[in-house]
Amino acid sequence: MTDAAELLDLTRKLLAAHPPATTDRDDFLKARFDAGLAWVHFPEGLGGLGAPRSLQAVVDAELAAAGAPDNDPRRIGIGLGMAAPTILKYGSQEVKERFLRPLWTGEEVWCQLFSEPGAGSDLAALGTRAVRDEGSGDWTVTGQKVWTSSAHVARWAILIARTDPDLPKHRGITYFICDMTDPGVEVRPLRQITGEAEFNEVFLTEVRIPDAHRLGGVGEGWKVAQTTLNNERVAIGGMRLPREGGMIGPIARTWRERPELRTHDLHQRLLTLWVEAEVSRLAGERLRQQLVAGQPGPEGSAMKLAFARLNQEISGLEVELLGEEGLLYDDWTMRRPELVDFTGRDAGYRYLRSKGNSIEGGTTEVLLNIVAERVLGLPSEPRNDKDVAWKDLAR
């Protein structure tokens, strides 16, 4: 097993062989991937070294200190946080070798074709159909997806579709990798309350997917999707952050620089949130230490719950603190951004964008149900939709 000293050594060798100052960004990222320093807990040959996940920090710190370029995770969050762990767990060797490297370097952006107009919290009710060609074994997919972040810049998508409408809803779903350049894929922008169109509607009309791009067994897509969703919740809420690294950063800076805005009321509220943000950071760190190389379980949802609430409360307080300036907004122009930065732009943007944090990747209400039922083991509410064939459910 690789230890910290060894990783440091490998990192320095990478830097010596490819000095960031004189190396093209893409070349550097590819070399870093090939050296196993992309995500050290991934297997050798796939950007990692089979090392403990916690040691990634050693590599990242050394690279940052040397001014090495990173892969801009804000642009490729869905690929890194959701597609990659799913491909790692369920992909064939060819699929892993084909997709993980350009995914990690950012050469290929990914999006997530899960939610549908009729299937949000109840994702398993989805109706997008995938039909198999008896001869080739390949698939034809038709349906509509919605709220698809980054679809307008994505090269590939992770997709779940219904392959057997006669089975109860959780059992007739299969998981695929979808080519966003297929002529049957149409992406239309959906504008958000921030003014931008970060997400999209995606219409799929007889999109061809080779069977080699299926992840997991036919009808096992729900299980595969759990890997994606559990990772998504950790990816959204469990980022490694320095102290004051998240939403609390901008307001803390404003507080220090603008004494004229301070009041007793705001001070107490800021301190409460500062403490909560710091504790949430520690809880995330602890979660990562527990994870080591494994996959996150439902406990990871707790991070996203805290993250969403804190982001909303802190940004709401920041707008209030700014007072007259909080009444302004930088720009409502409709754009289709290439990246998402929850803590970017101005306080008004942060306030509005953070409203999505308790909806995207599973709503706060749904995650609380997951904690109650899957972590605490409380009985679920009586359900009338689990053992009925999907085609017989009311819609």
Partner: protein, 357 residues
């Protein structure tokens, strides 16, 4: 005794304003106009202010108004809040009008302007930032004043300078639109350092502006109430219709309790808002306290209701297409407008002798 109910006349007025807003208050068109540069609908304003006479509710009949009171104006604001209507009612028909009423209305310039405002022929705004609290600092009118609500369409600016309060024709001032967080109540920077008609000396002018802001803060609570009420009703409607897991999402107890909780807040907000309107109408010595209580409470209720509305709509609540965002932005801006809840709590502290440590 404080009358916290609605009179029959007030109910009739509400019905009239509500049907006007229903007929003209399309929120998609509103958002479209806001982006094109001006969210106002001149026809709606004309019907409301001139034809229905709502602009003159605070103004005595002998000065050309309706001779009604803050109670009726509050009802109008409830309805405008319900529809997130973009109209200079709070700024012109309440704050500016109230400020003018606090001056010597025997002065011809004051009386003439009041009559014009009351008839809905012209609008005026007091040149202070929307965030200015009744008891807070006021800007010096000789410089550039930012964050002035509804200034871009106002005909007249009431400007407080070192030597008095002036009425300045907007054409004589520089008014630069700003990008406001609340799309439905646009802000602008105003420079009106010279000229205009002097309406009062500095002391009387300052007192009048503060009086206008106090009435504005008190009646803003009614706008917040109407806004919260719409958010709750729309959320109840949506969650009763939207199905997930083979049942209406409103049948989940977790959501029911959230909406029931909001209902409780709206009921309380109504009492607070009515108390403020009634105290202002009666010229009660309690007015300052009633206003501070209403603002400290109703701001939070409106924000909470709008936030819940977005959340309980799920993805659709995050879209530009759904009107929830207009309500969220208005609610958040209203929280800062005319003094934050924190500021109003400090006012309460002073008024009821609960001093800070």
């Amino acid at each position: 005794m404080t009358d916290l109910l609605y009179s029959e006349t007030e109910d009739d007025l509400r019905a009239a304003v509500r049907s006007l807003v229903a007929a003209r208050g399309d929120t998609t068109a509103l958002a479209g106009r806001a982006e094109a540069g001006s969210p106002y609908d001149p026809r709606l304003w004309n019907s409301l202010a001139a034809e229905m006479g709502a602009a003159g509710l605070l103004v005595p009949e002998k000065l050309g108004g309706q001779g009604a009171s803050h109670r009726e104006a509050a009802v109008v604001l409830e309805e405008l809040g319900r529809g997130v209507v973009a109209a200079p009612y709070l700024t012109s028909s309440v704050v500016a009008t109230q400020a003018l009423l606090a001056l010597d209305t025997g002065t011809e310039a004051v009386a003439a302007l009041l009559a014009e405002l009351a008839e809905g022929r012209r609008t005026a705004v007091v040149a202070v930032p929307l965030s200015a609290a009744p008891d807070g600092p006021l800007p010096d009118g000789s410089g550039r004043i930012t964050g002035v609500a509804d200034a871009a369409t106002a005909d007249v600016l009431l400007v407080l300078r070192a030597d008095g309060l002036y009425a300045v024709e907007a054409a004589q001032a520089v008014v630069e639109p700003q990008t406001s967080f609340d799309l439905t109540r646009p802000l602008a920077a105003v420079t009106a350092g010279e000229g205009g008609t002097r309406l009062a000396d500095a002391a009387a002018g300052t007192a009048a502006v503060r009086r206008g802001l106090l009435a504005g803060a008190g009646l803003l609570a009614s706008e917040q109430l109407g806004l919260a009420e719409w958010c709750l009703e729309e959320t109840v409607r949506h969650t009763a219709e939207r199905h997930q897991f083979n049942r209406p999402i409103g049948s989940f107890q977790a959501l029911k309790h959230r909406m029931a909780q909001l209902w409780l807040e709206v009921v309380s907000a109504r009492a607070a808002a009515r108390a403020a309107a009634d105290a202002l109408a009666a010229g009660s010595p309690e007015a300052a306290l009633s206003v501070a209580v209403a603002q400290a409470y109703c701001s939070r209720v409106a924000v909470h209701a709008a936030e819940e509305c977005v959340q309980l709509h799920g993805g659709i609540g995050m879209t530009w297409e759904h009107p929830a965002h207009l309500y969220l932005k208005r609610a958040k801006a209203d929280e800062i407008a005319l003094g934050t809840p924190g500021r109003h709590k400090e006012a309460v502290a002073a008024l009821v002798d609960l001093q800070a440590p």
